[in-house]
């Protein structure tokens, strides 16, 4: 029987579609088939290319943390302990001498030298390189020469004069003013070195290096990672690594999850044992995770704090501290933490996180406790606005708790609250900078290095109000003075005293309202054990063991 053209066409389309689809499919992307299946970890897409100076966010930092090894490591009690550095010393907190351990090598076998650090830091600081980590070097002498703050100004030099490789293993750093926190900063991603091979003749980092960075850490990169395209980053143990290595495995694979529901998808993959580590289990899945993962579910404190911020200078309606305090007292932090976050967050009672030294439990007692009656009275007395907007970014899973906060404010203050979700936090930031943003907004802060100062200066310092992260516009000379005193203090304990006094000024004025201390919710598969996170919330790979040694 002759089949008609129409039927042929439909059948043909189907067949053709299938064949093309089948032909097109390449080999499985998973690395190391046969015997040694890799340990697989979920990450979000690194925001930038994998270069230390370009990386100031957690996902890229997780990968770089596997490829590089920091000068100092953070101990459980948040002290900096020499690691690649043999010692980090200073007499006056102004001139610092970093001595490197002998025998460290790059993944290509070249020795690690002091010059590698000097080159990397100079590259990051140099204005035309537009490195997001440039500000870490602000306190180094000569930063203004390579990165003039004035708009349109060209740098006068390519290198900072305060930075010097005295010999192969010694780096000398001169700061513009004493800073007792400098040693603590050295463990951060921005302070990793770069090999001579990374640079081309013009001092730019080559495209080849960006795709397949050569590091000096536990893992080396097996093949280039093309950002935006590749879904996996395959690493394997570098045999020449001087530190501890994992006992019974060699391959590590980062699987990149992107898009709207990345964390949920990854959680499904963890349940199906398709990945081994997931360090951002979404709060909506915690009820299920606690039972499904059992003792493979973990819940650690982290340095992240959520606040509700106010554009104090841009919107006079928020100018009175009483208005902000009333809003704070109208938020039922405890119930939200329990119902929305299943206990994965706790009510904040200070401007700084319990993860740093100097945190005082209950520092914010009155203004941070839930008291609807008093809130209403205070709000009415201070003449708070009858309608407020509440902004957040829609890409970060904030909707539910912002909704709950809005309901609190509506019910307890009797005002209208309009939620304003934006796709990216950047939209809010842009508007805030131009002083066009009038509503309250959510904001969160995560430290770069474990110090109180890393919360206070960037968010509330006077210098940060112009082109920094001080979005409220709240400034206080006394506050800045106390921070400086803390930075120049001889001992960490003395420094903390000054920082706490500065913190008290914040608690009095409440430029932001601290809402939650976050916890990091993570879990792992049955295939591995002994998983723990370091102080930067990165997995300590050397300790991880595979459960089935087969």
């Amino acid at each position: 029987m002759r089949v008609t053209k129409g039927a042929w066409l439909v059948a043909g389309t189907a067949l053709l579609a299938l064949t093309v689809a089948a032909c097109g499919s390449g080999a499985p992307a998973g690395g190391g088939e046969g015997g040694d299946t890799p340990v697989r970890m979920e990450i979000g897409e690194p925001k930038n290319q994998l270069v230390p100076g370009l990386t100031t966010e957690a996902e890229g930092a997780e990968v770089l943390g596997a490829l590089f090894e920091p000068l100092v490591k953070y101990t459980k009690d948040r002290q900096a302990e020499p690691n690649v550095a043999e010692s980090v010393a200073s007499d006056d907190n102004k001139t610092w001498t970093i001595k490197l351990n002998q025998g460290w090598t790059w993944h290509d076998g070249e020795p690690l030298t002091a010059q590698n650090y000097v080159d990397a830091w100079n590259w990051a600081a140099y204005k035309p390189n537009a490195a997001s980590a440039a500000h870490f070097f602000q306190m180094v002498e000569g930063f203004e020469d390579v990165n003039p703050s004035e708009e349109g100004a060209q740098p006068a030099a390519k290198t900072m004069k305060g930075l010097e490789a005295v010999d192969d293993l010694t780096i000398r750093v001169r700061l513009t003013r004493p800073n007792s926190q400098f040693r603590l900063m050295l463990g951060y991603t921005a302070f990793y070195p770069l090999p001579a091979k990374a640079f081309d003749s013009n001092g730019k980092i080559t495209q080849k290096y960006m795709q397949q960075p050569i590091g000096m850490g536990l893992f080396k990169m097996d093949k280039p990672y093309r950002k935006g395209t590749d879904q996996v980053i395959d690493l394997s143990v570098y045999e020449g690594f001087k530190g501890d290595k994992p006992k019974n495995w060699k391959q590590l694979e980062f699987r990149i999850y992107s898009g709207q529901s990345a964390a949920e998808t990854a959680y499904n993959d963890l349940q199906a044992e398709n990945i081994d580590v997931h360090d951002s289990i979404p709060s909506s899945q915690l009820i299920s995770a606690q039972t499904a993962l059992g003792d493979r579910y973990h819940d650690d404190p982290t340095s992240l704090i959520s606040y509700i911020g106010f554009p104090i200078t841009a919107n006079p309606a928020f100018a009175k501290p009483e208005v902000r305090k009333a809003i704070s007292m109208a938020i039922d932090r405890k119930t939200i933490a329990e119902q929305v976050f299943s206990g994965a967050r706790s009510p904040a009672d200070d401007f700084i996180s319990p993860a740093v030294d100097g945190y005082r439990p209950g520092a914010c007692t009155e203004a941070c406790s839930y008291d609807p009656a008093k809130a209403k009275e205070l709000y009415a007395q201070a003449g708070g606005p009858p309608r407020i907007d509440l902004g957040y970014n829609a890409d970060g899973g904030h909707k539910e708790w912002m909704e709950a906060v809005a309901n609190n404010l509506r019910a307890n203050l009797g005002i209208q609250v309009q939620l304003k979700p934006e796709e990216k936090f950047g939209v809010i930031l842009t508007a805030l900078e131009k002083h066009e943003y009038k509503g309250a907004f959510r904001i969160a802060w995560l430290y770069d290095y474990p110090s109180m100062e890393n919360y206070l200066t960037p968010m509330f310092g006077k210098a940060a109000a112009k082109g920094g992260s001080n979005y409220s516009g709240w400034t206080n000379d006394q506050f800045d003075e106390l921070i400086n005193k803390g930075n120049e203090a001889r001992t960490p304990a003395q420094a903390i005293k000054f920082y706490q006094q500065a913190d008290d000024l914040l608690l009095k004025d409440m430029p932001y309202v601290p809402v939650f201390f976050h916890r990091i919710n993570w879990g792992h598969s049955t295939r591995i054990r002994n998983v723990e996170l370091n102080m930067l919330d990165q997995v300590v790979w050397a300790k991880v063991e595979k459960a089935d040694a087969a």
């Binding site: 709207q260 949920e264 979404p282 909506s284 899945q285 009820i287 299920s288 039922d332 119930t335 939200i336 329990e338 119902q339 929305v340 829609a394 890409d395 909707k399 539910e400 909704e403 709950a404 809005a406 309901n407 609190n408 509506r410 019910a411 609250v417 309009q418 939620l419 979700p421 796709e423």
Partner: protein
């Protein structure tokens, strides 16, 4: 077209012929429709839904816009007396929210469907009927809009205008219409092209019928049916698209309520708290179902080939 068999339709046809009434197309259709149980059922359903959309307070005494009716500590509570559907993730009464959600979902679905069908249908008719030139230009323009992925296009449009004080409901309708009309355009154009090559059109032309008469009396009735079928199915699609936009954060905005928004809000926790997702999804499905049944019935009645 979920109703009767061919035989019954023929019977209906005979019935009309016996009356010998020279009624117009629409009067005939109405006569035919009243006898279809599917039509009656869908009209009753839609009636209830429209009532719910217009006067939600007839159905529930709780005002979901009053934040004091929400109790976060009772979030995800299963049904209790006074709260027949239980509470949602914010501890608000789910029944009241579902009832109040009808308005925005239905308004968005209907307005968008109407706008796309009118704009797309008219342009499609024009393109197929008017001239080669109009056809070429209109077809190119549709290609631009058709090729831009609907959800992403809507996302772009909705986020571009979001800061203006335009009502979020109208913004959704606007965005979905801009990207939805090419579908109706194509269907209409294809149907008119097919109809134009048919004998009765040639015959009408030969008999000296003017273009307006051919368009309204011969082409439109013949080409309208597929547009109606696509539109009724699209209505559900638009309500679902509204859900997708709300999911992406640019659709209906809280404190407004829509089923799409409710589904998006309940989705993450549906593994252990299914009700906040199930009820709005159920209402949404029933609405879609009602409109499709209505569309089918109307289509069957309008189809002149049955006469």
């Amino acid at each position: 077209m979920s109703s009767g068999t061919l035989a019954r339709r023929r019977a209906g046809g005979r019935h009309k012929k016996r009356r010998g009434r020279p009624a117009g197309l629409w009067a005939d259709a109405w006569h035919d429709l009243r006898r279809r149980p599917m039509f009656v059922a869908s009209v009753i359903l839609i009636g209830v839904l429209l009532l719910m959309a217009a006067w939600p307070s007839l159905f529930t005494s709780i005002d979901p816009f009053d934040a004091r009716t929400c109790e976060l500590r009772l979030a995800r509570q299963t049904p209790t007396p006074g709260h027949p559907f239980g509470r949602d993730n914010q501890g608000c009464d789910l029944f009241a929210r579902t009832v109040y959600g009808a308005r925005n979902s239905i308004v968005i679905g209907m307005l968008t469907t109407l706008a796309t069908a009118v704009i797309g249908g008219l342009l499609g008719l024009l393109a197929a009927f008017h001239s080669r030139w109009a056809d070429a230009v209109l077809s190119r323009v549709t290609e631009i809009f058709f090729a831009i992925p609907a959800i992403l296009g809507a996302l772009l449009i909705a986020s571009t205008f979001r800061d203006s004080e335009v009502d979020s409901i109208l913004l959704v309708v606007f965005a979905l219409t801009i990207l939805g009309w090419p579908m109706a355009f194509r269907i209409m154009r294809a149907a008119v092209i097919t109809a134009m090559s048919q004998d009765f059109v040639t015959a009408a032309r030969a008999l000296g019928a003017g273009p307006w008469r051919i368009m309204t009396r011969h082409l439109l009735p013949n080409a309208l049916a597929p547009v109606i079928v696509i539109s009724t199915i699209n209505l559900g699609g638009f309500i679902a698209a509204e859900a997708a936009l709300s999911f992406l954060g640019v659709g209906v905005r809280s404190p407004d309520i829509s089923w799409g928004l409710m589904i998006a809000e309940a989705r993450d926790r549906f593994q252990y708290a299914p009700l906040p997702l199930v009820f709005p999804a159920l209402f949404l499905s029933v609405t879609v179902l009602a409109f499709i049944m209505l569309g089918d019935a109307v289509r069957d009645a309008l189809d002149p080939k049955l006469r």
